[in-house]
Symmetry: C2
Subunit: 213 residues, 2 copies
DNA sequence: GATACATGCAACGACGAGTTGCATTAGCGA
DNA sequence: TCGCTAATGCAACTCGTCGTTGCATGTATC
């Protein structure tokens, strides 16, 4: 009976589209719930309640929690901002620091936390979640690989340095500390991980045995 | 009606104790189930079935899945073999390699995988699981700290190197690759992580800013 | 303002978790 | 070997939650 309690968020979605509004609200609630509680501890009903819609609506439009999370993550991935291609620094340490900070931002973001928590807490059955994670990984590798190649050309890293190994070594501690140790991470921690990876790479740790100079 | 189908495992528990036998079987089944499926995707009934007992027995003796897992993990921790105190190597790289391999062994063990998966998949509410993880962490730190101190005294690592930071940086990639990337890890991967941590430590990456030489 | 469609609502069936009373069995001592 | 005590097996039950369905209500578009 109140005038208009469903105030359309300014500029968020095109006004008049109730469908889009509900979709947004449900995705939002789903990511927040899963980031907070993990995949198995949330219910469609709690997501619906948080979104301010009825559970029937969610069931009718997505069918299951699996598909809902899959689409919500996909949506979040699509709207993710592009990689900062600031590769003109010339210093591999600076560039890896940017990568580490970007990863930290993702890990701390709701969508990133939701994806990892989904994967770690029962979402492994969901192919869509796995796709999301793999896509993120591939994206980052695509960013790191040319960066490593240029660093090798500049003589900052030894020839044969494996970008995949370097990347895993770089982000591993951030994931471990955030999701397992529950450490509150800051940019300084990202910088530390980057510095460690850079030092190890410079020492030739990430050059496979079989790849001679 | 068969003669004696419940063959007491030789030397495992004191023969004649059905209680001890059931306890062993249930703990065994619980750790295996949780390591395979995670905390939320297992039921008391499935654990009981795997253990070859009735679910009523489990409910009567442990009350809930939480308490059962807590006791099972505690039991596994108690029976864990002591740390290999082979600190006479004289080379910090060798010593950290041993630490990394020990961590890898724990991560790949059923109890270790069970603990982490429990923690990551809904067991965060359980204080006993958290205690188990923290205990393991403290144990390792207690191993690494004197190791780092001696390395500093020998001049292999710069003064002020933080053993906690070093440890997290060392094991992070192993946890990340095992539990998130689902990489099949070998001793070579543990060695790689150790080598990376050693190189980074030698470069002074783990010396806090405030700690002057 | 009329129409088609999305949503809200309440009730329902299905399923699994956890409980309870009782029969059965195993371990332990005489 | 026998009997007693306690633990286990078993079946049935309650209860809460998930997911579905039929219908009423509201909303967007023409």
């Amino acid at each position: 009976m109140t005038a208009h309690e469903t105030t359309p968020a300014p500029g968020t979605t095109r006004p008049g589209g109730r469908t889009a509004r509900v979709r947004e609200a449900v995705f939002d609630a789903a990511l927040e719930e899963v980031a907070l509680l993990g995949f198995d501890d949330i219910s469609v009903e709690s997501i619906a309640a948080r979104a301010g819609v009825h559970k029937t609506t969610v069931y009718r439009r997505w069918g299951s929690k699996d598909q809902l999370l899959g689409e919500a993550l996909k949506d979040a991935a699509d709207s993710r901002i592009g990689l900062t291609d600031s590769a003109g620094s010339g210093d591999v340490a600076d560039e890896l620091r940017l990568v580490a900070r970007a990863v930290l931002a993702t890990v701390r973001s709701r969508a990133g936390a939701a994806a990892v928590r989904t994967l770690l807490s029962g979402g492994q059955s969901s192919a869509e979640v796995r796709t999301f994670i793999d896509g993120f990984f591939d994206e980052r590798i695509a960013q790191v690989a040319p960066l490593v190649r240029r660093a090798v050309e500049r003589g900052q890293l030894p020839p044969g340095t494996d970008p995949v190994v370097l990347f895993k070594q770089l982000v591993g501690p951030l994931y471990y500390r955030h999701f397992i140790m529950a450490d509150p991470l800051t940019e300084a921690d990202a910088d530390l991980a980057a510095a460690a990876a850079t030092a190890a790479a410079a020492a030739g740790t990430f050059v496979p045995r079989s790849a001679g100079g």
